[in-house]
Protein backbone atom coordinates (compact mmCIF):
# COMPACT_ATOMS: atom_id res chain seq x y z
CA UNK A 1 0.00 0.00 0.00
CA UNK A 2 2.78 2.43 0.99
CA UNK A 3 4.53 1.36 -2.21
CA UNK A 4 1.54 2.60 -4.19
CA UNK A 5 1.70 5.95 -2.42
CA UNK A 6 4.28 7.08 -4.92
CA UNK A 7 2.38 8.33 -7.99
CA UNK A 8 5.11 7.20 -10.39
CA UNK A 9 5.05 3.71 -8.89
CA UNK A 10 1.29 3.71 -9.12
CA UNK A 11 1.39 4.67 -12.82
CA UNK A 12 3.79 1.85 -13.54
CA UNK A 13 1.86 -0.79 -11.60
CA UNK A 14 -1.56 0.30 -12.80
CA UNK A 15 -0.48 0.10 -16.45
CA UNK A 16 0.30 -3.57 -15.92
CA UNK A 17 -2.86 -4.17 -13.91
CA UNK A 18 -5.33 -2.70 -16.42
CA UNK A 19 -5.53 -5.60 -18.92
CA UNK A 20 -6.18 -8.04 -16.04
CA UNK A 21 -8.97 -5.89 -14.62
CA UNK A 22 -10.52 -5.58 -18.06
CA UNK A 23 -10.29 -9.32 -18.68
CA UNK A 24 -11.63 -10.27 -15.26
CA UNK A 25 -14.58 -7.89 -15.59
CA UNK A 26 -15.59 -9.15 -19.01
CA UNK A 27 -15.25 -12.79 -17.98
CA UNK A 28 -17.21 -12.39 -14.76
CA UNK A 29 -19.88 -10.35 -16.55
CA UNK A 30 -20.25 -13.00 -19.23
CA UNK A 31 -20.62 -15.72 -16.62
CA UNK A 32 -22.91 -13.68 -14.40
CA UNK A 33 -25.21 -12.62 -17.24
CA UNK A 34 -25.39 -16.16 -18.60
CA UNK A 35 -26.58 -17.47 -15.25
CA UNK A 36 -28.74 -14.43 -14.51
CA UNK A 37 -30.61 -14.37 -17.82
CA UNK A 38 -30.60 -18.02 -18.89
CA UNK A 39 -29.60 -20.65 -16.39
CA UNK A 40 -31.21 -19.44 -13.18
CA UNK A 41 -34.83 -20.34 -12.36
CA UNK A 42 -37.76 -18.00 -11.95
CA UNK A 43 -38.94 -17.27 -8.45
CA UNK A 44 -42.04 -19.06 -7.12
CA UNK A 45 -43.51 -15.71 -6.02
CA UNK A 46 -41.86 -13.18 -8.32
CA UNK A 47 -41.52 -15.33 -11.48
CA UNK A 48 -39.16 -13.76 -14.03
CA UNK A 49 -38.89 -10.34 -12.37
CA UNK A 50 -36.43 -11.90 -9.94
CA UNK A 51 -33.89 -11.52 -12.76
CA UNK A 52 -33.80 -7.80 -12.02
CA UNK A 53 -32.25 -8.78 -8.69
CA UNK A 54 -29.03 -9.77 -10.50
CA UNK A 55 -28.34 -6.14 -11.45
CA UNK A 56 -30.24 -4.34 -8.71
CA UNK A 57 -28.62 -5.99 -5.67
CA UNK A 58 -24.99 -5.94 -6.89
CA UNK A 59 -25.46 -2.28 -7.88
CA UNK A 60 -26.82 -1.47 -4.42
CA UNK A 61 -23.93 -3.32 -2.78
CA UNK A 62 -21.47 -1.38 -4.92
CA UNK A 63 -23.22 1.92 -4.09
CA UNK A 64 -22.48 1.28 -0.41
CA UNK A 65 -19.03 -0.16 -1.05
CA UNK A 66 -17.96 2.80 -3.18
CA UNK A 67 -19.21 5.33 -0.65
CA UNK A 68 -17.28 3.54 2.10
CA UNK A 69 -14.17 3.54 -0.09
CA UNK A 70 -14.67 7.22 -0.88
CA UNK A 71 -15.11 8.17 2.78
CA UNK A 72 -12.16 6.01 3.75
CA UNK A 73 -9.96 7.62 1.10
CA UNK A 74 -11.09 11.09 2.20
CA UNK A 75 -10.19 10.21 5.79
CA UNK A 76 -6.82 8.91 4.58
CA UNK A 77 -6.20 12.22 2.88
CA UNK A 78 -7.31 14.36 5.81
CA UNK A 79 -5.68 12.37 8.61
CA UNK A 80 -2.59 10.78 7.06
CA UNK A 81 -2.14 13.02 4.01
CA UNK A 82 -1.70 9.95 1.77
CA UNK A 83 -0.75 11.41 -1.64
CA UNK A 84 -3.14 9.40 -3.75
CA UNK A 85 -6.03 9.32 -1.26
CA UNK A 86 -7.74 12.51 -2.43
CA UNK A 87 -7.47 11.36 -6.01
CA UNK A 88 -8.92 7.96 -5.13
CA UNK A 89 -11.92 9.57 -3.44
CA UNK A 90 -12.51 11.89 -6.39
CA UNK A 91 -12.15 9.03 -8.86
CA UNK A 92 -14.58 6.82 -6.93
CA UNK A 93 -17.43 9.32 -6.66
CA UNK A 94 -18.87 9.09 -10.20
CA UNK A 95 -18.63 5.31 -10.16
CA UNK A 96 -20.53 5.12 -6.87
CA UNK A 97 -23.10 7.59 -8.17
CA UNK A 98 -23.57 5.44 -11.28
CA UNK A 99 -24.19 2.31 -9.21
CA UNK A 100 -26.60 4.20 -6.94
CA UNK A 101 -28.55 5.43 -9.97
CA UNK A 102 -28.70 1.89 -11.33
CA UNK A 103 -29.89 0.56 -7.98
CA UNK A 104 -32.62 3.21 -7.76
CA UNK A 105 -33.93 2.82 -11.30
CA UNK A 106 -33.75 -0.99 -11.47
CA UNK A 107 -35.39 -1.04 -8.05
CA UNK A 108 -38.22 1.06 -9.45
CA UNK A 109 -38.57 -1.26 -12.42
CA UNK A 110 -38.78 -4.18 -10.02
CA UNK A 111 -41.12 -2.39 -7.62
CA UNK A 112 -43.74 -1.49 -10.21
CA UNK A 113 -44.71 -5.06 -11.14
CA UNK A 114 -44.10 -6.52 -7.66
CA UNK A 115 -45.28 -3.83 -5.26
CA UNK A 116 -47.56 -1.96 -7.66
CA UNK A 117 -45.60 1.26 -7.28
CA UNK A 118 -42.56 2.93 -8.86
CA UNK A 119 -41.58 4.57 -5.59
CA UNK A 120 -42.36 4.72 -1.91
CA UNK A 121 -40.82 6.92 0.76
CA UNK A 122 -39.80 4.04 2.98
CA UNK A 123 -36.54 4.04 4.96
CA UNK A 124 -34.50 1.96 2.50
CA UNK A 125 -35.44 3.82 -0.68
CA UNK A 126 -35.24 7.25 0.94
CA UNK A 127 -31.82 6.67 2.49
CA UNK A 128 -30.44 5.37 -0.83
CA UNK A 129 -31.80 8.45 -2.59
CA UNK A 130 -29.96 10.53 0.03
CA UNK A 131 -26.82 8.53 -0.77
CA UNK A 132 -27.21 9.52 -4.42
CA UNK A 133 -27.48 13.20 -3.44
CA UNK A 134 -24.40 12.84 -1.23
CA UNK A 135 -22.42 11.55 -4.21
CA UNK A 136 -23.62 14.47 -6.36
CA UNK A 137 -22.84 16.89 -3.53
CA UNK A 138 -19.35 15.48 -3.19
CA UNK A 139 -18.66 15.88 -6.91
CA UNK A 140 -20.09 19.42 -7.00
CA UNK A 141 -18.12 20.54 -3.94
CA UNK A 142 -14.91 18.97 -5.22
CA UNK A 143 -15.16 20.95 -8.44
CA UNK A 144 -16.30 24.18 -6.82
CA UNK A 145 -12.83 25.51 -5.99
CA UNK A 146 -10.03 26.79 -8.20
CA UNK A 147 -7.51 25.13 -5.88
CA UNK A 148 -7.95 21.35 -6.17
CA UNK A 149 -6.60 20.84 -2.64
CA UNK A 150 -9.35 23.00 -1.12
CA UNK A 151 -11.98 21.22 -3.17
CA UNK A 152 -10.66 17.87 -2.01
CA UNK A 153 -10.70 18.95 1.63
CA UNK A 154 -14.22 20.38 1.56
CA UNK A 155 -15.71 17.43 -0.30
CA UNK A 156 -13.74 15.02 1.87
CA UNK A 157 -15.39 16.38 4.99
CA UNK A 158 -18.78 15.97 3.33
CA UNK A 159 -17.93 12.39 2.41
CA UNK A 160 -16.90 11.53 5.98
CA UNK A 161 -19.91 13.26 7.55
CA UNK A 162 -22.23 11.45 5.14
CA UNK A 163 -20.84 8.05 6.04
CA UNK A 164 -23.42 7.75 8.83
CA UNK A 165 -25.92 7.08 6.01
CA UNK A 166 -24.26 3.76 5.15
CA UNK A 167 -25.24 1.82 8.30
CA UNK A 168 -28.61 3.57 8.17
CA UNK A 169 -29.18 2.14 4.70
CA UNK A 170 -28.00 -1.32 5.71
CA UNK A 171 -30.13 -1.54 8.86
CA UNK A 172 -33.10 0.51 7.62
CA UNK A 173 -35.06 -2.65 6.82
CA UNK A 174 -34.54 -3.86 10.41
CA UNK A 175 -35.00 -0.59 12.26
CA UNK A 176 -38.10 0.63 10.40
CA UNK A 177 -41.24 -0.82 8.89
CA UNK A 178 -40.33 -0.90 5.21
CA UNK A 179 -41.91 -2.00 1.97
CA UNK A 180 -38.42 -3.03 0.84
CA UNK A 181 -37.73 -6.59 1.93
CA UNK A 182 -35.28 -7.43 4.74
CA UNK A 183 -31.79 -8.84 4.17
CA UNK A 184 -31.56 -12.27 2.53
CA UNK A 185 -27.83 -12.55 1.95
CA UNK A 186 -25.71 -10.57 4.42
CA UNK A 187 -27.26 -11.65 7.70
CA UNK A 188 -26.01 -13.25 10.91
CA UNK A 189 -27.34 -16.74 10.22
CA UNK A 190 -26.12 -16.89 6.62
CA UNK A 191 -27.82 -16.40 3.25
CA UNK A 192 -31.47 -17.36 2.94
CA UNK A 193 -31.32 -17.57 -0.83
CA UNK A 194 -31.15 -20.68 -3.02
CA UNK A 195 -27.70 -21.51 -4.49
CA UNK A 196 -29.14 -21.37 -8.01
CA UNK A 197 -29.80 -17.71 -7.36
CA UNK A 198 -26.90 -16.98 -5.03
CA UNK A 199 -24.27 -17.89 -7.61
CA UNK A 200 -25.36 -15.49 -10.38
CA UNK A 201 -25.78 -12.85 -7.68
CA UNK A 202 -22.21 -13.32 -6.41
CA UNK A 203 -20.80 -13.51 -9.95
CA UNK A 204 -22.45 -10.21 -10.88
CA UNK A 205 -21.27 -8.66 -7.61
CA UNK A 206 -17.70 -9.73 -8.39
CA UNK A 207 -18.04 -8.45 -11.95
CA UNK A 208 -19.22 -5.07 -10.67
CA UNK A 209 -16.31 -5.01 -8.22
CA UNK A 210 -13.67 -5.65 -10.88
CA UNK A 211 -15.46 -3.10 -13.09
CA UNK A 212 -15.11 -0.58 -10.25
CA UNK A 213 -11.39 -1.35 -9.89
CA UNK A 214 -10.94 -1.07 -13.67
CA UNK A 215 -12.65 2.32 -13.99
CA UNK A 216 -11.08 3.54 -10.73
CA UNK A 217 -7.63 2.77 -12.15
CA UNK A 218 -8.44 4.64 -15.37
CA UNK A 219 -9.72 7.65 -13.46
CA UNK A 220 -6.83 7.61 -10.96
CA UNK A 221 -4.33 7.59 -13.82
CA UNK A 222 -6.16 10.57 -15.29
CA UNK A 223 -5.96 12.39 -11.94
CA UNK A 224 -2.21 11.78 -11.63
CA UNK A 225 -1.75 13.11 -15.17
CA UNK A 226 -3.92 16.14 -14.36
CA UNK A 227 -1.67 16.88 -11.41
CA UNK A 228 1.41 16.61 -13.65
CA UNK A 229 -0.30 18.87 -16.20
CA UNK A 230 -0.92 21.53 -13.58
CA UNK A 231 2.72 21.37 -12.50
CA UNK A 232 3.90 21.64 -16.11
CA UNK A 233 1.58 24.58 -16.74
CA UNK A 234 2.92 26.31 -13.62
CA UNK A 235 6.49 25.80 -14.89
CA UNK A 236 5.53 27.26 -18.25
CA UNK A 237 3.87 30.26 -16.63
CA UNK A 238 6.97 30.95 -14.52
CA UNK A 239 9.50 30.11 -17.26
Amino acid sequence: MIHLANPTQFMRLSARLLPWLRGATLLLLAGGLYYALFRSPQDYQQSETVRIMYVHVPAAWMALFCYSAMAGAAAGALIWKHPLADMAAKATAPIGAAFTLIALVTGSLWGKPMWGTWWVWDARLTSVLILFFLYLGYMALNNAFDDPARGAKASGILAIAGFVNVPIIKFSVDWWNTLHQPASVVKLDGPAIDPSMLWPLLLMALAFTTYYLWVLTLRLRAEVLASRLRAAQRRQALG
Partner: protein, 61 residues
Protein backbone atom coordinates in the same frame (compact mmCIF):
# COMPACT_ATOMS: atom_id res chain seq x y z
CA UNK B 1 -38.71 -18.20 -33.35
CA UNK B 2 -41.63 -18.77 -30.96
CA UNK B 3 -39.19 -19.82 -28.25
CA UNK B 4 -37.17 -16.63 -28.76
CA UNK B 5 -40.31 -14.46 -28.55
CA UNK B 6 -41.50 -16.16 -25.40
CA UNK B 7 -38.02 -15.88 -23.90
CA UNK B 8 -37.94 -12.12 -24.52
CA UNK B 9 -41.45 -11.76 -23.13
CA UNK B 10 -40.12 -13.07 -19.80
CA UNK B 11 -43.53 -14.22 -18.61
CA UNK B 12 -45.04 -10.83 -19.37
CA UNK B 13 -42.42 -8.93 -17.41
CA UNK B 14 -40.06 -8.22 -20.30
CA UNK B 15 -41.09 -4.58 -20.26
CA UNK B 16 -39.48 -4.23 -16.84
CA UNK B 17 -36.58 -6.65 -17.07
CA UNK B 18 -35.02 -5.56 -20.36
CA UNK B 19 -35.03 -1.82 -19.59
CA UNK B 20 -33.38 -2.65 -16.26
CA UNK B 21 -30.53 -4.51 -17.99
CA UNK B 22 -30.28 -1.97 -20.81
CA UNK B 23 -30.00 0.96 -18.44
CA UNK B 24 -27.37 -0.86 -16.38
CA UNK B 25 -25.33 -1.54 -19.50
CA UNK B 26 -25.77 2.02 -20.81
CA UNK B 27 -24.65 3.65 -17.55
CA UNK B 28 -21.67 1.37 -17.01
CA UNK B 29 -20.47 1.46 -20.61
CA UNK B 30 -21.01 5.22 -20.73
CA UNK B 31 -18.91 5.77 -17.62
CA UNK B 32 -16.16 3.50 -18.94
CA UNK B 33 -16.01 5.30 -22.29
CA UNK B 34 -16.04 8.74 -20.63
CA UNK B 35 -13.25 7.72 -18.24
CA UNK B 36 -11.14 6.34 -21.09
CA UNK B 37 -11.68 9.52 -23.13
CA UNK B 38 -10.56 11.74 -20.24
CA UNK B 39 -7.45 9.66 -19.72
CA UNK B 40 -6.50 9.76 -23.41
CA UNK B 41 -7.14 13.51 -23.56
CA UNK B 42 -4.87 14.12 -20.56
CA UNK B 43 -2.15 11.88 -22.00
CA UNK B 44 -2.25 13.86 -25.25
CA UNK B 45 -2.20 17.19 -23.42
CA UNK B 46 0.74 16.14 -21.29
CA UNK B 47 2.69 14.87 -24.31
CA UNK B 48 2.06 18.18 -26.05
CA UNK B 49 3.20 20.28 -23.11
CA UNK B 50 6.24 18.04 -22.52
CA UNK B 51 7.06 18.37 -26.21
CA UNK B 52 7.02 22.15 -25.86
CA UNK B 53 9.25 21.99 -22.79
CA UNK B 54 11.79 19.82 -24.59
CA UNK B 55 11.81 22.16 -27.56
CA UNK B 56 12.38 25.15 -25.30
CA UNK B 57 15.26 23.41 -23.51
CA UNK B 58 16.70 22.40 -26.84
CA UNK B 59 16.50 26.02 -28.01
CA UNK B 60 18.25 27.23 -24.86
CA UNK B 61 20.91 24.57 -25.34
Amino acid sequence: MDQLTSYFAMGGYGGFIWPAYTLTAAVLIGLLVASRRTLTARETELDAIRGTEENETADEA
